[in-house]
Point group: C2
Chain length 198, copies 2
């Protein structure tokens, strides 16, 4: 029964409003998974943990014959969240399989590498588009939490900047690799094009 970052994420969402578990899982999928991804199957346990620790309450509702559980934060929950925000946290963690494939690219074909780079770019473009839609929603409607626009904007700008950086890097790498005869042949001055300006 340990408070993990995931538990605090759920607690943070409960600080904004009351949520059913399904709604919590949906909100994770909509935005938070881009910087705190968690499998849906375990999200249903997190609010229960909060309840057992006195940081949230659970209310059983019935939708026809279907049960639903709605959770709300407690004052102790707000205090716990506030204290967590003041603690040092864990380092960022990135799992980027595409970049691993770039790293070992000379063990494969040039076409494979170009495909990998194109996929990386397309994924980043999709992420950028998704966050543009989130931003447009905030700009037009204020979103579900209009009094939090200022902090949401910090996060959205981060996501946008990151996606832009990946896209630009992929475009650059595609043009560089396009001029290689193959992945195993080292071009002249292999480091200059990457490190020339630093």
């Amino acid at each position: 029964m340990k408070m993990t970052t995931t538990t605090y994420v759920i607690l943070g969402l409960l600080a904004l409003r009351r949520w059913s578990t399904y709604e919590l899982a949906k909100q994770m999928k909509r935005s938070i998974r881009y910087y705190w991804p968690r499998a849906e199957s375990h999200l249903y346990e997190e609010p229960k943990k909060l309840v057992s620790l006195g940081l949230a309450t659970a209310t059983r509702e019935d939708v026809g014959r279907r049960p639903r559980t709605v959770y709300e934060i407690t004052d102790a929950g707000r205090t716990a969240l506030r204290e967590w925000l003041a603690t040092p946290g864990s380092l960022p963690l990135v799992e980027f399989e595409g970049l691993v494939k770039v790293l070992f690219a000379e063990q494969g074909t040039k076409d494979d590498l170009l495909q990998t780079l194109a996929t990386i770019r397309a994924d980043a473009e999709a992420t950028r588009e998704h966050h543009a839609e989130l931003a447009a929603d905030l700009a037009v409607t204020g979103g579900p939490f209009p009094d939090r626009l200022h902090v949401n904007a910090l996060v959205l700008r981060f996501m946008w900047d990151q996606a832009e950086t990946v896209i630009r890097w992929a475009e650059w790498a595609e043009t560089v690799v396009a001029e290689w005869p193959d992945t195993a042949t080292q071009p002249a001055a292999p480091l200059d094009y990457a490190l020339g300006d630093r």
Copy 2:
């Protein structure tokens, strides 16, 4: 007994040269952990898996009375790696606890938020510095694999660009937040400063 991305990472390293398990773990820690982090305790199982699949061989050596195992890739291993490089891969995954704390910043103090941003910046500066050292090593000595500089350069440039982007974002966010009276008070036009140019 399933081939995971981690298994392929080890296979990719074995494609470069023969390694002891400890050396594999050390190389993961030196560079690959930034984009494919894995706990050391499980890395020792991966080459064993490769051996059982015929993709690598294991040689037991003795250093005095201490045992060491050295692994080498097989031809089948090279083929498997080549084929994996041609497969579509999984999406990037990011766990960024600092950004989660930014997302819920209005539940805490302005000082906590500024501390979070400063920590994010410092971590990114350390990452940038680490990769600058890796790059300098490559530039001066050619590194352990001088015939792979061209692909290493692609990866290094990516890591540098990412770190730079995080640093710039954190610096920007620090200046923005510095002007807030507190985290709960929404400034005028809260979205413009983040989204004004897109």
